[in-house]
Symmetry: C2
Subunit: 391 residues, 2 copies
Amino acid sequence: MPAGSTGVTGPAGFRAAGVAAGIKSSGGKDLALVVNDGPEQVAAGVFTTNKVKAAPVLWSRQVLEQHRLRAVVLNAGCANACTGPEGFQDTHATAEHVADVLGVGAIEVAVCSTGLIGERLPMDAVRGGVDAAAAALDVGERAGFDAATAVLTTDTVAKQALVRDPDGYAVGGFAKGAGMLAPNLATMLAVLTTDAVLGAEELDAALRAATRVTFDRLDVDGGTSTNDTVLVLASGASGVRPDPAAFTERLTEVCSDLVRQLQGDAEGVTKTIDVVVRGAADEDDAVAVGRTIAEDNLVKTALFGSDPNWGRIAMALGRVDARIDVDALEIAANGVTLFAGGTRAADRSAVDLSGREIEIVVDLHVGPHEATILTTDLSHGYVEENSAYSS
Amino acid sequence: MPAGSTGVTGPAGFRAAGVAAGIKSSGGKDLALVVNDGPEQVAAGVFTTNKVKAAPVLWSRQVLEQHRLRAVVLNAGCANACTGPEGFQDTHATAEHVADVLGVGAIEVAVCSTGLIGERLPMDAVRGGVDAAAAALDVGERAGFDAATAVLTTDTVAKQALVRDPDGYAVGGFAKGAGMLAPNLATMLAVLTTDAVLGAEELDAALRAATRVTFDRLDVDGGTSTNDTVLVLASGASGVRPDPAAFTERLTEVCSDLVRQLQGDAEGVTKTIDVVVRGAADEDDAVAVGRTIAEDNLVKTALFGSDPNWGRIAMALGRVDARIDVDALEIAANGVTLFAGGTRAADRSAVDLSGREIEIVVDLHVGPHEATILTTDLSHGYVEENSAYSS
């Protein structure tokens, strides 16, 4: 779905805004507000597994325990991580200020931050930004796009998605960052909205099911951010109570769409790489093998060079703690089987990796399970972007 | 120890040679032979933990079961990995040919290979190289240097070390590659020699103790090669039977010297980085924390940019499965404490990382254990070297 399409404001019952609050030194948009006008305010969230959790993660996780949100405030330009009790107070004060302006309770306001770790939030700028964003709140495409834009850091384009179910409800959302849930480059944040009527447990279960096979399977560099957060807000404004399985499918579609956009805009990306692992003894093995290949710098640099160096793939998967039989293993790239039966199956010149999209298929042939991990190459652009300035 | 110093031929009882056999397309030296003339031929080896093991690893591991070696033959330019039963036959034939030429048994000959995975060994070149190397076998500095040179791949200098114990014995060796034992870039191979008199169990225990705190703690990119091998050969020619603890110390010194040389010559290195982890609940935790920081691309690119971005270090260690208390944690770089008590302790401008050597000290403050992992930065040179050609 192209940037500019309706995201969080696609489903009925939501307003959004994105403003330049002066947190980013660039002067660009850096504060977003998403408000759920109801009639219902059911919500769920998943958060980073990193032991070093940013203040907004600690706050929002606590708030989400009651599965109810009126609003989410997000800022770019400062992660508010590793900032101690003072940083937590800043997050709390941000939520309080949003609550005051909107006339709701602070316990109904989630906070997300992304940017440099170890710096305090400039609270005057945040308060002014909240005031400006609250005044700018609107339904419609422009408002959703502004919010999606205000959370960007090293991203080059806004990422939005929307799916309308024939039963009469919609699921929308935006995301920023470039990595797995519990990522990595500059934090992954996503806000999803729906006007379906859902109970808290249904919504929570749907979010966990959807993120497990989407955000959790994007792995750009194995990092895990202190701030990663995916929130979903349900307004019930459509009056439609969906079948839970169908809703999970729609939510998964939106997450998958956003994840593809994150993959395509990852730092320094010149190749989008799908690592498909088949024939695993169980799904955990498939994920572990895919993730290890996706994180291997020798594989990632070879693919940057369009080099079908399958020996590096064999090397990478051989160090995974998974059930592997080297003689049964098959490795293919862009449709050409390169390794099978314990030895080379084709000359590497038989495969063309010069395009932007690469598919690696590893068939372990030891069981029926599979998983796909999405990743990118390791390019000069990645090194440049991550060495030339602090993020 | 500068290249050119005596390595494997430093201890008495050893001859070596390195020749150009025509395996490398560059035409450089690519086949080395190290012979133990005794009077004793005690040996021990440690090998890659990768599930995908090259043919020479399968062969040498089997040979080492009797803890006795007359000779080691090593080649660069072809890893002979993922080559199936035919590849194993090539290794076996190589050992047989060495055995014939030297008048020993094939079961007394270890084989090591390094280079591209998935290609078959050019056996005519190997046989010719073995003949030439056997004819060139010599004691003395030049022979050891030639052998150390013939195993290089992307290395830019030969790595040799020698320690003489006042009790009258010596420990020498050479190494190639750039990673941890069970590494990584282009394979790590090392051959160590000593003229001390040692039993098989003593030698084996000393090798495991020495590699555990040296080769095992060099981690350039987390990779684990299919071919990694460290062998030690004891000739007994000095007639000196050392105290086992003292010998382990000497062997560790030689390994440590070689590992420092590998670190300094790693692919694309512009910074040598020591990650010192203190105050861990146990040694495994210290190693896991150090290794995760050392492998984190966001940390490695920041350090390439001389940027004391300690937030990335905090992020990296927060994803380790180890006992960590964020409020107790301290992070320092080149002697300046940057994070303590859950928040920033100094401005990042207080630390200078512009030099080639960087020391990161992480004190977990939860126990008495520590470990140091040696690594390098992630530079444009690394990406270039690993994307521009197959290795």
